[in-house]
């Protein structure tokens, strides 16, 4: 390789590596801000903001969805499989809102530690399968549990 080319190759590699390191540091320092939502463990540990709006993500616990009034109010519990947070929401839920599915809610905590959501978004998981396969998976896991 000719010296001039080698020099350019080294210069360009240094530039790319430099930019990568700079971006790495920037992302590391903004790590908290880049999180789209807080987990339920963060909220229970008091890491989430007390008085301002924030997003809370987690899985809707099976059997926890209830409608206490006759209005549009829904109450359910979110979990990240370690801590739970109760959420109250008044409004229309997205199509994918189901028990056992992940959601992201936007709102704030009230004095009792209940999360009052203004908006609920469904977080889709990365699994795709036909309904028959899902049904057979379910029966399989049920029969395994029964043993």
């Amino acid at each position: 390789m000719k010296p001039a080319r080698k020099q350019r190759l080294i210069l360009i590699s240094l530039m790319v590596i430099g930019v990568a390191i700079a971006t790495g540091f920037a992302l590391k320092s903004f790590n908290e801000n880049l999180m789209y939502f807080f987990s339920t463990t963060d909220v229970v540990a008091g890491k989430a903001p007390k008085d301002s709006l924030f997003r809370l993500g987690g899985m809707v616990i099976k059997g926890s969805v209830e409608r206490p009034g006759d209005g549009m109010m829904v109450r359910f519990k979110l979990t990240d499989f370690s801590k739970e947070v109760t959420v109250e929401y008044t409004g229309i839920l997205p199509d994918l809102f189901r028990e056992g599915q992940g959601i992201v809610a936007h709102g704030k905590l009230n004095a009792q530690g209940v999360f009052i959501a203004e908006e609920v978004l469904a977080k889709h998981d990365e699994n795709y399968m036909p309904p028959e396969v899902k049904a057979s998976l379910k029966t399989k896991s049920l029969s395994e549990k029964g043993q």
Binding site: M1, R5, R8, L9, I12, M15, V16, V19, A20, T23, L27, N31, L34, M35, Y36, F37, F38, S39, G57, L93, P94, D95, L96, R98, Q101, V104, E119, V120, L121, A122, K123, H124, D125, E126, N127, Y128, M129, P130, P131, E132, V133, K134
Partner: protein, 254 residues
């Protein structure tokens, strides 16, 4: 590291010569178009007709047959553009510069398609058109990088200097590519994690996966077709004063 066999070097030198590239792409074109049409028909038939509905999303999930390949291509084309730009900078190969700049509008289109189809799907599924989570935002930055490359190239009259400027911009932007790919793993995002490229087995049923891979190949072949067409025109523009272009046009006139 730089001990490349002589035959490989000669192959690249031949490939990089504009008249040879121009003639070769002309011969390849009908084959590529055939492959593209067959793959697209097979992929769409498999994806829209043969593949079953999803257990959660019903038929809405079928947008992945456009969305996912377009998003893959948006990253892939960026890497091609940046690497071609680097080759142009280091070895001063004209064809590499042409490939880099010809890739930009195609990549920008795929990025736009990925963002647009994702938004269409997001409204019924998530309940929102757009959120500022890490995946969506970094993909939007990718679109701006592509547009920046196109704009910068157009703004500089001397195309040799323009190619260098564009290559440096593209190389700086490379840092965004791993960010887009890993955004769903590094941070909490509304966008779901990877399905197909997970290291363990893909969490998509095989009857849905095959059409998806066919569509990915179809988009790849479309990129090749579009790249060749664009680069041929760009080559002719740049080489308009050279002997091989003059000879070719004179021969066509006869």
């Amino acid at each position: 590291m730089f001990l490349v066999p002589d035959i490989v070097v000669r192959f690249f030198h031949r490939m990089a010569s504009p008249p040879h590239y121009y003639a070769l792409t002309q011969r390849l074109m009908p084959w590529l178009v055939t492959v593209f049409v067959l793959l697209t028909l097979a992929g769409l038939y498999g994806g829209l007709y043969l593949a079953p509905a999803d257990y959660q999303q019903g038929d809405s999930y079928r947008i992945i047959y456009i969305h996912v390949p377009a998003a893959w291509m948006s990253l892939f084309i960026y890497m091609v553009m940046a690497i071609a730009g680097a080759i142009g900078l280091i070895w001063r190969i004209k064809l590499a510069e042409v490939v880099a700049i010809s890739s930009a509008p195609i990549g920008a289109s795929f990025t736009f398609i990925a963002l647009f189809t994702g938004s269409l799907w997001g409204k019924p599924m998530w309940g929102t058109w757009w959120v500022w989570d890490a995946r969506l935002t970094s993909e939007l930055i990718l679109l701006f990088l592509y547009l920046g490359v196109i704009g910068l190239y157009g703004a500089i009259d001397d195309k040799k200097i323009a190619s260098k400027a564009v290559a440096i911009l593209a190389l700086v932007g490379v840092v965004n590519i791993p960010i887009i790919h890993y955004s769903v793993e590094w941070w909490n995002t509304l966008h779901q994690g990877p399905t197909v490229t997970k290291m363990d087995k893909p969490s998509i049923h095989v009857s849905m996966l095959i059409p998806l891979l066919l569509m990915a190949l179809s988009f790849k072949s479309y990129y090749l077709i579009a790249l060749m067409q664009r680069s041929r025109i760009e080559l002719l523009k740049r080489e308009r004063n050279s002997q091989w272009v003059k000879t070719m046009i004179l021969e066509a006139d006869k």
